[in-house]
């Protein structure tokens, strides 16, 4: 997994709350292989009209945001299904960080599995940041996981919290399977104890 330390990139304001995973990637794309086209499914039905033409009205279609890697959204971003494809398509498009007042739980887990940083800032801070981005289209934002700050070129520094274990894993890009398998003796001891206490769970 790609570590996340510090990222300075164009940030795009997405003025929507309750952005669900069906909006991030419509279900019909879930059958697609994980290849170079994956980023093109991102927000597909918001970005394109019925005839497949790009909608000028959707913020991501504006030229200044072509290289955006940071998304600043409204509350409850990534709610809905467990589809990790939502994170794959964000990454495929180039995003490495999403800033929002709150997130769907499973979505956060999926971000952390893929080196994408979910930053929780208070509702008012997110709204102010989006307003600032609207006034400064194409401006960059710096997300620093080491310092746990989000900074804008106007000098504003906003701090955020992240569980220390999760932060450490992201900073080092640690693969959880590798990490877990180093615990194998402890896992096996647990399983033996557990199985003795619950003989009815034994299955061939």
């Amino acid at each position: 997994m790609q570590p996340f330390t510090k990222l300075t990139a164009v940030a795009v304001p997405l003025d929507l709350s309750d952005v669900n995973t069906d909006m991030i990637i419509p279900a019909r794309f879930l059958r697609k292989p994980l290849d170079a086209r994956y980023g093109s499914y991102l927000f597909h039905d918001l970005r394109h009209d019925e005839d497949g033409r790009l909608r000028d009205s959707f913020v991501l279609n504006e030229a200044v945001y072509r290289d955006a890697q940071i998304l600043v959204a409204g509350a409850n971003f990534g709610c809905g299904s467990s589809r990790e494809s939502a994170v794959y398509t964000l990454m495929g498009y180039g995003f490495r960080c999403v800033i929002a007042p709150s997130f769907g739980d499973i979505f956060v887990g999926n971000c952390l599995q893929n080196g994408v940083l979910p930053v929780v800032l208070p509702e008012a801070e997110c709204a102010a940041l989006r307003a600032w981005l609207d006034a400064n289209p194409g401006a960059t934002v710096t997300a620093d996981l080491e310092a746990q700050t989000v900074t804008t070129p106007d000098g504003r520094i906003r701090t955020f919290a992240l569980d220390p274990v999760r932060r450490e894993r992201l900073l080092r890009g640690l693969d959880e399977i590798g990490l877990t398998l180093t615990r194998l003796p402890g896992i096996e001891a647990f399983e033996a104890r557990y199985a003795r206490a619950r003989p009815w769970l034994a299955r061939e």
């Binding site: 003025d15 929507l16 709350s17 309750d18 669900n20 069906d22 909006m23 419509p26 279900a27 019909r28 879930l30 059958r31 994980l34 039905d45 019925e50 409204g74 509350a75 409850n76 709610c79 809905g80 299904s81 467990s82 589809r83 990790e84 494809s85 994170v87 709150s102 997130f103 769907g104 739980d105 499973i106 887990g109 999926n110 599995q113 893929n114 569980d163 220390p164 274990v165 999760r166 959880e176 399977i177 877990t180 398998l181 615990r183 402890g186 896992i187 647990f190 399983e191 104890r193 557990y194 003795r196 206490a197 619950r198 003989p199 009815w200 769970l201 299955r203 061939e204």
Partner: protein, 482 residues
């Protein structure tokens, strides 16, 4: 080791604790950070969508560590028509590939698999309970957010993404963050025509689509205790629509009666041992929750959603809300939802014309759901295209044995095979743009049932009422014989 002592498993001398904590603590292999733990996973369910997880696992040269603790079933992509031909009846080559890929991956991993023509086939969250795989006290994962369904048995069951599906395949454990505890106590009695679906829609309408983010919900109270397993499964199923990590209900005699004799349920002496343990799985009197909410079951009415998230619901007697009644983000949310749904503020929900009706999904496709829909349909004719997709192949057979299929067919309603179908439409069962549906599924997101499709979530009885009237209708009028 000590001899087995049922009363102390996972509940040694300790502070008063909740049902959730008892299960959590019994599964912690190692404590990570303050809130992080490595959890033992008893059971993981797999469906066609697991192909990305399997691909990564195989590419990394890993194996399935505990094949017996997984169960795979084809549900998300199976067609609901032409099933008598099995896999040969799947016309879309891409879809067929995914169904075959699951069979191939399961065989590779040594995992029990119910394929498209297996008699055990059905929606993953329906067959887990039906086969007796879902049991009290278990930690259950699945790459599907509605895994919360299984919590109705007093299990801690939650959805995970592809990376975590891969992890549980490779290690049989998961790093999990401990959720906060929310108890929703619902006391009182449900009126005729009001079901588990209405309870959960009313609950989400009250707390909001993000109202339980970061929490595990325990449902308690006399209304929950009085519910059948079917009703409880519906309630727990939609916990995720309030943002909860999981929903749970303490197991009781209703749970045990349901489980007894099922294919994977313990038998004989093992049943007695299990039962003794299961009876310890309830929240202690003095246990504390991070949040508590009390609701009055007597006040619930049949519900219907008007917007584009499951929290945007109202009693059928209500009217489409006016954005002007809200401000800021909330106002914009209502405006966007009404624009998508093609609705005007102030419109009465009762009487709103629908184009199609769908009865199915892991939320409402169990035998009791089909009975309640059939009771409304009996002796009437459907006015709009409607189809029923039973939650499992077994439920389809059971319903046919009771003659429910005839009730639907005689009313001009299609009787189809089992799968996720129009809940998510990955199998091709979709609405056309602009079409309005009454649906017993769980999500009314934009585009969920097809691009531009407008979904109103309702109970099975309400869906049946919509089918026979062609409009959203207060089912209580039909029950009263009006």
């Amino acid at each position: 080791m000590n001899p087995v002592n049922m009363s102390t498993i996972g509940a040694a001398k300790r502070a008063p604790s909740t049902l959730f904590e008892k299960i959590w603590d019994a599964h912690v292999i190692e404590q990570g950070g303050a809130d992080d733990a490595l959890l033992h996973v008893d059971l993981n369910f797999l469906h066609e969508g697991a192909f990305l997880a399997f691909a990564a696992l195989r590419k990394e040269g890993r194996t399935v560590r505990k094949p017996a603790q997984h169960f795979a079933v084809a549900d998300h992509y199976v067609p609901t028509l032409g099933r008598e031909r099995g896999i040969a009846g799947v016309t879309d080559p891409e879809v067929r590939g995914l169904i075959e890929l699951l069979a191939d991956n399961a065989a590779w991993g040594g995992i029990d698999h119910a394929g498209i023509d297996d008699p055990r086939q059905g929606i993953v969250h329906v067959i887990g309970p039906e086969l007796g795989l879902t049991q009290p006290g278990l930690v259950i994962s699945c790459g599907d957010s509605h895994t919360s369904t299984h919590g109705a048995f007093g299990a801690f069951a939650f959805g995970v993404g592809a990376s975590q599906v891969k992890q549980v395949l490779a290690t049989q454990c998961l790093w999990q963050r401990k959720p906060k505890r929310l108890r929703i106590t619902i006391d009182g009695a449900l009126a005729p025509g009001v079901s588990g679906k209405d309870v959960i829609l009313a609950t989400i309408a009250q707390i909001g689509a993000a109202g339980a983010v970061g929490h595990v919900i325990e449902y308690a109270g006399s209304a929950i205790r009085a519910m059948s397993m079917e009703g409880r499964l519906t309630v727990c199923n939609m916990s995720i629509e309030a943002g909860a990590r999981a929903g749970m209900i303490a197991p009781d005699d209703t749970t045990f009666d349901y489980l007894h004799g099922r294919a994977f349920a313990p038998k004989g002496m093992l049943w007695d041992q299990a039962l003794a343990y299961w009876r310890t799985l309830r929240t202690d009197e003095a246990a504390r929750f991070d949040r508590e909410l009390h609701l009055d079951a007597d006040a619930f009415a049949p519900m219907v959603t008007w917007g584009t998230n499951p929290g945007q619901g109202l009693p059928i007697t209500g009217r489409v809300p006016d954005p002007a009644s809200a401000s800021g983000d909330a106002r914009r949310g209502i405006e966007a939802a009404l624009a998508y749904m093609g609705l005007q503020p102030g419109t009465a929900l009762d009487g709103l014309a629908v184009d199609r009706v769908f009865i199915g999904s892991c939320t409402n496709s169990r035998i009791e759901d089909l009975r309640s829909a059939a009771a409304v349909v009996r002796g009437r004719r459907a006015k709009v295209p409607t189809f029923v997709s039973p939650g499992s192949t077994q439920i389809k057979r059971d319903a046919e044995a009771e003659g429910l299929d005839r009730v639907f067919i005689d009313a001009g309603i299609e009787w189809r095979a089992s799968g996720c179908s129009m809940c998510v439409g990955t199998n091709g069962d979709l609405l056309r743009a602009g079409e309005r549906s009454a649906s017993t599924s769980n999500r009314n997101f934009e585009g969920r049932q097809g691009r531009g499709a407008r979904t109103h979530l309702v109970s099975p009885a309400m869906a049946a009422a919509a089918a026979v009237t062609g409009t959203l209708t207060d089912v209580r009028r039909l029950i009263a014989g009006d």
